[in-house]
């Protein structure tokens, strides 16, 4: 299982959001770290096929990002997301399950499981608009896991989660990372410390460091301030 990002760039008129990034990712949890505006979200959107790169290509085990097969193994949590106002938590998951091509019976079973996993089963029948920020975020995480993705892209997944939920989430990711490729972006370094196999530091659209978290922990911590200024 391998995700290949080959010289990917994304340019908007006078601004280069992602600048010739090449990566090869295998099973594990990868943390994408960088200041706001570093290009994390743009890179993640390119990896998910939401944005077309200006140049370069992305593929997973030989399947290009634009193909249906690629989207079939993808789970994605966007940074900011909305929902249809009439949806309950359960409706939302069933809707996404349908978009993921899941049959109704399977979708129902998986929805129940995931609502239980993210501790939303008691509010499953309530409208999403009555949910707190943390509950919405957990629902977003649940939808990303519906199709048991081999490639999981999470953009700022811990936003809105309380400390207890963060710990649970980290454990979940550590478990999932054994058999999938997980790329998560954050600017909270403690979210990455215990679970990421590798850290990717991004600045001005470029990856300025890629390496094992444990080996370079001090270096990364030391380099962080310069990333943000």
């Amino acid at each position: 299982m391998e995700l290949v990002i080959d010289r990917v760039s994304k340019q908007y008129e006078n601004h280069i959001a992602v600048d010739r990034i090449s990566l090869r990712l295998r099973e594990g949890v990868y943390g994408l770290l960088g200041a706001n505006g570093a290009g994390k979200t743009t890179l993640m959107r390119v990896i998910c096929g939401i944005l077309k790169p200006t140049s370069g290509s992305v593929y997973f085990d030989g399947i290009e990002v634009k193909e249906e097969g690629y989207r079939a193994i993808l789970g994605y949590l966007p940074q900011d997301f909305g929902y249809y106002p009439e949806f309950t938590g359960k409706d939302f998951l069933l809707y996404i399950a349908a978009l993921k091509g899941m049959e109704k019976r399977v979708a129902k079973k998986k929805t129940e499981e995931l609502l239980d996993l993210v501790a939303l089963q008691t509010v499953a029948e309530k409208k999403i608009k009555s949910y707190s920020g943390g509950m919405k975020q957990r629902l977003g995480i649940a939808q990303a896991l519906l199709n048991e993705p081999k490639l999981l892209i999470l953009d700022e997944p811990t936003t809105g989660l309380d400390p207890g939920e963060r710990v649970k989430f980290r454990n979940l990711l550590a478990e999932l990372g054994k058999k999938s490729i997980i790329l998560l972006s954050t600017h909270i370094i403690s979210d990455l410390e215990d679970i990421t196999d590798e850290v990717l530091l991004m600045k001005s659209g470029e990856i300025v460091y890629q390496g094992k978290w444990e080996e370079k922990k001090r270096w990364v911590r030391g380099a962080l301030p310069s990333l943000f200024y």
């Binding site: 994605y76 349908a98 993921k100 091509g101």
Partner: protein, 240 residues
């Protein structure tokens, strides 16, 4: 002259890496087939249409039926006024992924946003077609127009609103675009009903060729707008 071998090697370095075919075939073999066919997906999408859109579309027939049956008044102007509202309801429903920020989810799933938009267009198109056909029968009963003539009178305001609204939504892809579509619908609605009173000569048979020309133009334009609306779903260009 640069050495040919060197040229070849430089070219190879800058060539994009091709996906390894063996891995790709193995991957595709292991990929579970989608449990839903496109037909089932369309049916599911139909179930997710907002109730008020379906109810409003159906209810648009109520005033027409009431006036026709109880007040025994001319109802053609009312039908001409209602038709653009059907079109704007359909476009509003089709645009709700943008309105409610669901685009990123819908773009990253197996049935992508393109399939969602297509499915909605099919369901809403069928629904509007049934309503237009119903109005067509009423108009036919009310006035001595031919079926072809009546179809032109109904389809021109419908397609004008639909095409204009799709153009607005495509060029101003934001949550508020739908308000501009509503303004357009009201304008077309007022125009077509007032034309019936103020310029009724336009509905004489001698003018039918002009209606046909406009209709053909709008059909081509509608096809163009639908094509580009679907094409636009391939990449996220909306302000997220």
């Amino acid at each position: 002259m640069m050495d040919r071998e060197l040229k070849k090697r430089i070219k190879k370095i800058f060539e994009e890496e091709k996906p390894p075919q063996r891995e790709k075939i193995q991957f595709l073999n292991n990929l579970p087939a989608s449990e839903l066919s496109m037909g089932q997906f369309i049916m599911i999408q139909a179930g997710y249409l907002r109730r008020w859109v379906i109810v409003s579309t159906i209810l648009s027939a109520v005033p027409v039926l009431l006036v026709a049956n109880f007040m025994k008044q001319n109802i053609l102007w009312m039908i001409f006024a209602l038709i653009p509202l059907l079109a704007v309801l359909a476009v509003a429903e089709n645009n709700r992924s943008i309105q409610y920020g669901m685009i990123e989810f819908e773009m990253s799933t197996r049935f992508s946003l393109k399939s969602v938009v297509l499915a909605r267009m099919i369901v809403l198109g069928i629904m509007d077609f049934v309503m237009i056909f119903f109005f067509l029968l009423i108009c036919k009963k009310e006035k001595d127009f031919s079926l072809f003539q009546t179809s032109c009178y109904l389809l021109v305001p419908y397609l004008l609103t639909a095409t204009g609204s799709l153009w607005i939504v495509r060029h101003f892809p934001n949550k508020d675009a739908i308000y501009s579509c509503m303004v357009l619908a009201v304008l077309v609605s007022s125009l077509s009903s007032s034309l019936y009173f103020r310029a009724d000569f336009l509905y004489e048979f001698s003018y039918i060729k002009w209606w046909v020309i406009v209709l053909i133009f709008l059909m081509i334009k509608a096809g163009y707008e639908i094509y580009y609306t679907i094409k636009q779903t391939e990449e996220c260009i909306w302000s997220l």
